[in-house]
């Protein structure tokens, strides 16, 4: 049913609000990719089955027969504790739910409104029944992720009910294109994909091009390993992103939009397709949107497994059916982007910020965050931290607050070592940086960058050289191969790092890493190459002693680098049973029965079979 005018959208909204209100009890089962992998599909089926059989059962709190809504929602964010189930109106959050728990949840909470305490988050003997009170959530400011976990992301009506597309109405009927651009510019919305470029300025440049055909493109490639902010928005609240794209299209005079989603996000693609189809049914996408005479169509393009296609010009090349390789600039994407037309290319999270800016105004938006980086940022908090998951905080939040207050500190309360921020293009922050206010500019000064928002927390057990090798391996694999410094330079850097982590490095290798890193950073063609050396150079700067130990002493203090592990038999615990020697594939262990055995470290291939087989736990890895 196409909505021919704005008033019709209001009507739809009223109906949707009523429908949601009619659900006396709303159960939202997290159906983000993470929780699905944890088995939340079965939980959903079970609870839905139970709720469907509820007809006629009276509930204590309602006069008529209760209406229970069972929905699959987007990612709740508290991924460490998944599968997650949220139950409204009490806002209970149940963690680590299993299919067997459904019966109890149903009987106690849904029928009687009582909490199941054993499924609730507990910290320091305190139980936190309400989701919002849990320290993980309390310290966050979820704006972009506001609806993730609270609505059924496959039903446009729920989005409309909670106020969605109000901003679009305002933009189409109460504002002019340049007013919209001005609002976004004043809000100083900076690109959330990592570039931090001023969004309003980008839109302004496209709007003032002579060419009348323009495009709006959304970068949903999210290639950083461990980053899933964009995925969660696309899965959990796709309309928020679509609304931003339509407003952008209207502001710059574009008629078509493209969303480039990496092929490895089938669920996000599915949810986006549904969202677009439902929006088209209502005429919120398509010709003459809400009777405004503005037309905008959105297409979805799937990636094909290339990280480099997250780079703007490689992305547009990929949409055009060309080989996904970046090109030289000029011409810039805003002048000649997709199909050589002026193009607005922004990240998913950036678009997700647009609607709230238009609805509430730039002054409201600038109240949060820092002067130069207003607003919030979504981060994927991963690594050796207690509460891994998807968080959103105002820009300017310190690393300490994120890791300790929200993240709950490191696992086993281990001492903090470093945080890798920005993935394969990022550097590491160390203990001295814990109180740095995270925003675009403060990190640049430290030689790091926010990037897309991936945070990997590391403890003393993490080998920083291996971290550098891991990221360089990723970058080398993903290099498109066009320019010499990235194609050949990262290959050589990886070879050196592989040598170092396998115990064959030399001190001169460290100088070579710096030489290659400087050259690649200065001369590479695109952002991938330019930032490829950052993890290496950053860890080399902050943890040089580890590198030096690797090459001069052939020692990896964390024991991570397998080739340099020294397996040692503790003579005080060894009973001389010879089981280790019998299991050693290379006969590196020798000794006499009932006397302590000895491992020849030169012959030892570090397989660990001896340690696995020792009945007396007498074998350890020396640090």
């Amino acid at each position: 049913m196409i909505l021919m005018e704005n008033a019709s959208l209001e009507e739809v909204r009223e109906k949707a609000v009523e429908k949601m209100k009619a659900e006396n009890c709303r159960i939202l089962i997290c159906a983000g990719t993470g929780c699905l992998a944890g088995g939340s599909e079965k939980i959903y089926s079970k609870l839905k089955e139970m709720a469907d059989g509820i007809e006629g059962v009276s509930l204590e709190f309602g006069p008529e027969a209760a209406h229970v809504g069972v929905h699959q929602s987007g990612c709740h964010g508290f991924c460490e504790m998944g599968p997650l189930v949220r139950i409204e109106p009490w806002n209970y959050l149940y963690i680590k739910v299993k299919e067997e728990d459904c019966e109890e949840i149903f009987q106690k909470t849904i029928l009687k409104g009582e909490p199941v305490e054993r499924l609730m988050y507990t910290q320091n003997d305190t139980v936190y029944p309400q989701q919002e009170s849990i320290p993980f959530y309390a310290k966050q400011t979820r704006r972009v992720l506001k609806n993730c976990g609270h609505i059924n992301s496959e039903d446009i009506n729920e989005y409309i009910a909670i106020g969605g597309y109000k901003a679009l109405s305002k933009a189409l009927f109460e504002m002019k294109s340049d007013e919209i651009i001005e609002e976004v510019t004043q809000a100083n919305l900076r690109g959330r994909g990592g570039g931090g470029f001023q969004t309003g300025y980008k839109w302004k440049q496209v709007a003032r091009q002579k060419e009348t055909i323009r495009y709006v493109v959304c970068n949903g490639d999210e290639g950083d390993p461990g980053a899933f902010m964009d995925r969660s928005v696309m899965e959990g609240d796709p309309h928020k992103m679509l609304e931003g794209m339509i407003i952008a299209g209207y502001a710059v005079g574009a008629q078509e939009g493209y969303i480039y989603v990496r092929a490895e996000y089938p669920l996000a693609i599915k949810r986006l397709k549904i969202a677009i189809a439902q929006a088209e049914e209502y005429g919120i996408l398509g010709d003459n949107i809400l009777g405004s005479s503005y037309s905008f169509h959105i297409h979805i393009n799937r990636g094909a497994g290339a990280f480099v296609c997250g780079e703007g010009s490689a992305l547009t090349a990929s949409i055009e059916g060309e080989r996904g390789m970046p090109r030289t600039k000029p011409p810039r994407t805003v002048e000649q982007g997709l199909f050589a037309k002026p193009t607005v290319l922004n990240n998913v999270e950036t678009y997700a910020n647009v609607a709230m800016i238009i609805e509430n105004g730039f002054e409201w938006y600038r109240k949060l965050g820092t002067e130069t980086s207003p607003g919030t940022k979504a981060f994927a908090l991963t690594g050796s931290v207690k509460n891994t998951g998807l968080i959103e905080v105002p820009m300017g939040t310190t690393l300490r607050e994120i890791v300790f207050d929200i993240g709950g500190g490191l696992i086993d309360d281990a001492p903090f070592k470093a945080v890798q921020i920005g993935g394969p293009s990022g550097g590491c922050l160390v203990t001295q940086n814990l109180d740095v206010k995270l925003d675009f500019d403060s990190l640049k000064k430290l030689g790091a960058m926010i990037g897309s928002g991936g945070l990997v927390v590391m403890d003393e057990g993490t080998c920083m050289v291996e971290v550098a090798r891991f990221f360089m391996n990723f970058t080398q694999n993903e290099s498109c191969g066009k320019c010499v410094p990235c194609r050949e330079g990262t290959k050589r850097m990886l070879e050196i790092l592989e040598r170092i982590t396998s115990g064959k490095g030399e001190l001169s290798d460290l100088d070579m890493l710096e030489e290659l890193g400087a050259a690649i950073t200065a001369t590479a063609l695109c952002g991938l190459g330019k930032s490829a050396a950052l993890p290496v150079l950053s860890t080399l700067k902050n943890f040089r002693e580890e590198y030096v130990a690797h090459v001069t002493e052939k020692r990896c203090q964390t024991g991570t680098c397998q080739a340099m592990r020294k397996y040692i038999i503790n003579p005080e615990l060894c009973k001389g049973c010879s089981k280790c020697a019998r299991n050693c594939p290379v006969n590196a262990i020798s000794g006499k029965i009932k006397e302590p055995y000895v491992i020849d470290t030169k012959t030892c291939i570090k397989c660990g079979a001896c340690m696995d087989n020792c009945p007396f736990h007498a074998i350890y890895i020396a640090n």
Binding site: A306, R323, M325, R327, T328, K329, P330, Q476, N477, E478, S479, C480, G481, K482, C483, V484, P485, R487, E488, G489, K491, R492, E495, M512, E515, L516, A519, A522, T523, A524, L525
Partner: protein, 564 residues
């Protein structure tokens, strides 16, 4: 106040240059590059052209638009270090067995690594060896020598409109290859060799046939006849300090005699035959108004392109063979009796500016009486190598004339080597009066010059004959599409696969600058101007032969015998 930028403290005015690199070169600094080519799109992959501005910002000069007031240094400490490192990285994945490489002495990697000052490569070459592609008679692909500059890919796609090769795989596994790594001979590659002409290394090179020619010369039972194409004479001197575009035919003939060829003829004679035959065919088509337009057929790259990409229009191609294609069977027929008397076999070697000719001679329609007409095609680059192999000091040779009876060729036949030449020669044949005035008038019809698409129209009686001359297959493609869609109509279309015609063929000495290109073209027109015979149909030897030994054999020897 004129716009200028400052390069290495020198002020350089901006006069419409599209990138900073052009300004740097204008300033007299030959900044090293691999992937930059003034006629191709900017690629920006090699990063050798990086420069530093006064703020320490480093960028590639090939893709930077000049802005007035820029201050640039091309050789700072960092730039020197980075350029050397990029060179070192390229060399580390490259075969360094230069002594046995076909590009030894003319390789950009050799040249630039010496200039930049590489004296050690600190990385190991651990790349897997890939097989060579020897399937095409025209060019050889050696992926092991490729530095992925992409010039061949862009040339084949942008200038030739063929796109037979492109990048495959990713990162350090990237390779240039035809789709699915099919052998080149099984693709739409037309053998024009323009890829080899831009390749800085030996990744793509000419498929040479030098050894069998030496072998034949040494065989006393073989009469080795050689014919020399027009475009060769204004380019062969490039390697011997002879001014660009100068006519070195005389010296070449002397050299060939010293090398042991038994008879030396001029392909210009063959071109004259082509003019006579093709004009006859054209006149017939005009008369019957059938099968118009007529497309020229002397360019094998064009013929293959038409057959593969525009098969619906291929019927318009002239049935005439190319000049070499007509001349060779005639030569063999001429020596037939002498051969049986002397117990010898005659083979024909042609010296061509063209690599596609190596494919032309293998086509079925270039066989007569079951015998391959031309036995070997030797490109200009190859004859230069043979001259050097023998150690002949070419520039000091005395000029000699080619052998009779086929030494006589007209000016109209000579200009076949440049775009518009075939058409101009045909127009001369069509002229009623063989006067000087007509020569002049024809030269002004608009068929001369470097414009991509040249149009002309002449009156034949009271009929207006519309002509199109196009060069470069990319341009030919555009024209064919318009002809196919009936957007335009011409009676006669000349197509040369290579931009500027055969003078810039894939077999010519490569990396010719703009001045050389101009001098080669002018060189041919100069030869034409001083030729005693300018109208092809006034070639007395040819005309006499038509009345005598050629009678009844014209079709068999000179046409592509398609119906058989």
């Amino acid at each position: 106040m004129m716009d200028y930028i400052t390069i290495d403290t020198k002020r350089v005015p901006i006069e419409g240059e599209k990138n900073v690199l052009s300004l740097i070169r204008k300033a007299g600094i030959d900044l090293p590059t691999f992937c930059y080519h003034s006629e191709l799109s900017i690629y920006g992959a090699c990063r050798m052209c990086v420069v530093e501005d006064e703020k320490g910002h480093i960028f590639a000069s090939c893709s930077e638009i000049p802005k007035s007031g820029m201050v640039i240094n091309t050789n700072t400490k960092r730039i020197q270090a980075y350029r050397k490192l990029i060179m070192e990285l390229l060399l580390s994945s490259h075969c360094r067995d230069c002594t046995t490489c076909p590009k030894n002495g003319s390789c950009s990697l050799q040249d630039l690594s010496f200039r930049v000052g590489i004296n050690a490569v600190r990385f190991l070459n651990n790349k897997k060896t890939l097989p060579l592609d020897l399937s095409s008679p025209s060019i050889v692909r050696d992926p092991n020598k490729c530095i992925l500059c992409g010039d061949c890919v862009r040339t084949c796609d942008e200038i030739q409109g063929v796109g037979a090769i492109d990048f495959a795989y990713r990162g350090s596994e990237t390779q240039v290859m035809p789709a699915f790594n099919r052998p080149l001979a099984e693709t739409d590659c037309v053998g024009c060799g323009q890829c080899a002409a831009v390749c800085p290394t030996a990744a793509i090179s000419i498929h040479t046939n030098i050894s069998p020619v030496w072998k034949a010369i040494a065989d006393p039972n073989i009469r080795v006849v050689v014919q020399i194409a027009p475009a060769v004479r204004v380019a062969v001197g490039d390697s011997f300090n002879i001014p660009k575009g100068e006519n070195s035919l005389g010296k070449l003939v002397t050299a060939l005699r010293m090398m042991g060829f038994d008879a030396i003829y001029d392909t210009t004679f063959g071109a004259d035959i082509t003019v006579v035959e093709e004009t006859k065919e054209f006149a017939k088509r005009l008369e019957t108004n059938e099968n118009l337009p007529l497309f020229t057929s002397c360019c094998p790259g064009w013929v293959k392109f038409c057959e593969t990409r525009f098969p619906d229009l291929a019927g318009h191609i002239s049935t005439c063979r190319s000049p070499q294609g007509m001349f060779s069977p005639f030569i063999k027929d001429y020596f037939k009796d002498k051969d049986s008397a002397e117990g010898k076999k005659t083979i024909v070697v042609s010296i061509m500016p063209c690599t596609a000719k190596k494919g032309e001679i293998l086509r079925e329609d270039n066989f007569t009486d079951g015998r391959q007409d031309t036995d070997y095609v030797i490109t200009t680059q190859e004859i230069i190598r043979m001259i050097k192999q023998m150690g002949i000091k070419f520039e000091y040779l005395e000029a000699e004339a080619a052998d009779m009876p086929f030494a006589v060729g007209s000016g109209g036949g000579t200009i076949f080597g440049t775009t518009g030449g075939v058409t101009e020669a045909v127009l001369r044949r069509l002229a009623k009066e063989k006067s000087y005035a007509n020569l002049k008038e024809i030269s002004y019809t608009g068929v001369r010059g470097v414009t991509s698409l040249k149009e002309a129209s002449i009156m034949l009686g009271d009929r207006e004959v519309k002509i199109a001359v196009v060069h470069g297959l990319g341009e030919a493609k555009k024209l064919m599409e318009r002809i196919r869609n009936k957007e335009v109509y011409y009676d006669f279309v000349e197509v040369m696969a290579c931009k500027r015609g055969c003078i810039m063929g894939g077999g010519q000495p490569a990396f010719a600058g703009n001045r050389t290109k101009k001098m080669r073209m002018e060189g041919l027109y100069k030869i034409d101007s001083v030729s005693t015979i300018r109208y092809p149909d006034e070639n007395p030897v040819l005309m006499q032969m038509y009345d005598t030994i050629l009678k009844g054999k014209e079709h068999k020897l000179f046409h592509r015998n398609l119906s058989e």
